[in-house]
C-alpha cells in the first residue's frame, strides 16, 4: 500500500512541475508572437491609416471603369483564349470531316480545260476507257 502511494505522489509532483514550466514557456512565446504580429499589422496598415488621417478615400470607380474592370477584362480574356484555340485550325485551312455534307463543290486536277462540255459530249464510253481497268474502295 505505502510504496504505491509514494510512487503516485512523486509522479504527480514531477508532472505538475513540468506542466508549469511548459505553460510559462508557451505564454512567453504567445506574447512574443502577438507583439510581432501586431507590429507587422500596424506597419502594413500604414497607408490605410494615412488615408484615415487625411479623411479622403478618393473618388469611387465611375460606371465606365466598373464595366471595364468587371466585364471588359473577363470578356477580353475569353476572346483571347478562344482565338488561341481556333488559331491552329484557321492556319491549317479547311478540313474534310467524313459523314458531313460536302459543300465545297468539285475540283478536277489535270482535267480538260472545259470540263463541263467535255463530260457532256461523252455519249458512249470509248474503247480506251472500257478496255482499261482500275479499282475502287470505300471508307
Amino acid at each position: 500500500m505505502t510504496p504505491r502511494r509514494v510512487r503516485t505522489g512523486s509522479k504527480g509532483l514531477r508532472e505538475r512541475t513540468v506542466g508549469e514550466r511548459t505553460v510559462r514557456k508557451l505564454a512567453t512565446r504567445t506574447a512574443l508572437g502577438a507583439a510581432c504580429a501586431f507590429g507587422t499589422l500596424v506597419a502594413a496598415a500604414g497607408p490605410a491609416l494615412a488615408i484615415g488621417e487625411r479623411n479622403d478615400p478618393g473618388d469611387g470607380l465611375s460606371w465606365v471603369q466598373t464595366v471595364l474592370i468587371f466585364i471588359g477584362i473577363p470578356v477580353g480574356v475569353f476572346v483571347v483564349i478562344a482565338f488561341l484555340v481556333y488559331l491552329p485550325s484557321m492556319v491549317r485551312g479547311p478540313r474534310y470531316r467524313p459523314g458531313r455534307p460536302w459543300t465545297s463543290g468539285s475540283v478536277w486536277f489535270g482535267g480538260p480545260d472545259d470540263a463541263n462540255s467535255a463530260v457532256e459530249s461523252v455519249t458512249t464510253l470509248p474503247a480506251s476507257t472500257v478496255e482499261g481497268g482500275g479499282a475502287s474502295a470505300r471508307w
Binding site: P98, S106, S121, T129, G133, A135, S136, A137, W139
Partner: protein, 131 residues
C-alpha cells in the same frame, strides 16, 4: 480549273506537284477529281475518264466522292499495262484509309506516289497474268 474551297492553296499545290512528278516518272496522265458524282460513282468516273479524250488511253483518273465515301480509280487501256488492277486496288485502299481520317490532300498525294512507284517499276513478264 480553280481549286474551289476544298483545299488550301498549299494543299492544291501539293496535289499538282504529285501529279506532275508521277507524270514525269511514268509518262501516264494522272487526273484527280474531287466532288459529288451524278448517280453511281463508278459510272461517273468512267465518264470523266472518257472526257479526257485523246489522252484517255494513257490516263489514270482518280475520283473521290466525299459524300458517298468512295474512291474510284480508272486506268485507260494503255495505262493498265503499267498500272495493273492490283496496284490500283492497293493505292485505293491506302487513300481510303487517309480519307477516313479526314486527310484528303495527304491521302491523294500518297496514293498518286504509290501508283507512280508501281507503274515506274518494269513489268515482270514471266509471272502469271498481270491482272
Amino acid at each position: 480549273m480553280p481549286a474551289g474551297d476544298a483545299f488550301s492553296p498549299r494543299q492544291a499545290d501539293h496535289i499538282r506537284q504529285a501529279i506532275a512528278t508521277a507524270r514525269a516518272e511514268t509518262g501516264l496522265h494522272f487526273s484527280v477529281y474531287i466532288g459529288p458524282a451524278d448517280g453511281d460513282a463508278r459510272e461517273h468516273a468512267l465518264r470523266l475518264h472518257a472526257a479526257l479524250g485523246d489522252t484517255a488511253t494513257g490516263a489514270v483518273l482518280i475520283l473521290v466522292e466525299p459524300e458517298q465515301r468512295r474512291v474510284e480509280i480508272v486506268t485507260g487501256e494503255g495505262a493498265r499495262r503499267l498500272l495493273d488492277d492490283r496496284a490500283a486496288a492497293l493505292a485505293s485502299l491506302s487513300m481510303a484509309t487517309s480519307f477516313a481520317g479526314g486527310d484528303l490532300a495527304g491521302g491523294l498525294v500518297n496514293g498518286i506516289r504509290m501508283m507512280s512507284a508501281s507503274a515506274a517499276r518494269p513489268p515482270v513478264l514471266h509471272e502469271r497474268g498481270t491482272d
